[in-house]
Amino acid sequence: SGIDFEIIIIDDGSPDGTQEVARQLEKIYGSDKILLRPRAKKLGLGTAYIHGMKYATGDFIVIMDADLSHHPKFIPEFIRKQKEGNFDIVSGTRYKGNGGVYGWDLKRKLISRGANFLTQVLLRPGASDLTGSFRLYRKEVLQKLMEKCVSKGYVFQMEMIVRARQLGFTVGEVPISFVDRVYGESKLGGNEIVSFLKGLLTLFATT
């Protein structure tokens, strides 16, 4: 495709053999293209970003889930969009254009739309999908944001966009499809909702 890239894989000791597969990929594609940087134990998403960035040598960083819920076919779209508007961040959105989801029941969709609506009203963020984690960042922008963000989980993703707007960075959007992981249950329970609300109110009061 003519685009220079490297893939940094961060695995916190997944029990499903991820590291084995990654090592095989490394053998096939070479360790300049596939950088396997595992960690001893499950340390969380934010630190995974920081850990990964240390090894990144490019100008832009695409963050995505590795379980195919984020399809790599969108990456050229992200790149195209970034060039189009010289954006600092390009965010994948499930809510606009022909973005969407698969495998979500009505309840999950309702919670998603409801939470997003509340977020839009309270934070007026200028982006339609704040809890998504399929994004392209300019490297320096990601570094700056990591320094400033303090929350965890869903709220961390939201905080990244909110702080980006605060700091005057530009955000473009690309519709993406989010296909739920083929195996395993989603854990959108009461606890998650409560911590989301707490995080939202914190952002509301502090940004």
């Binding site: 195919l68 969407g100 698969y102 979500w104 997003n116 083929v182 952002l203």
Partner: protein
């Protein structure tokens, strides 16, 4: 200014404007019909916002795309 601060300022502004007009002493009150509409205005606005919220979330829920082809693609 934080979003919270913006909201508080906005509410304070609107609130004081409403209070000034609605609770003014007899000499300075606006004419009859206007006053009658003014007093329950905050509640009306709240209800209107509630309806708007329900309608918006409902609409967005109904138009939430399901990407069948994307899932099929992945199964291959």
């Amino acid at each position: 200014m934080t979003k919270l601060a913006q909201w508080l300022c906005g509410l304070a502004l609107l609130g004081s404007a409403w209070a000034a007009l609605a609770l003014a002493p007899p000499g300075l009150q606006p004419p009859g019909p206007l006053r009658q509409a003014l007093l329950p205005l905050p509640v009306y606005l709240l209800v209107a916002f509630g309806c708007y919220s329900l309608a918006t979330v409902g609409y967005r829920l109904a138009t939430f795309n399901d990407c069948e082809e994307a899932a099929a693609e992945l199964q291959e």
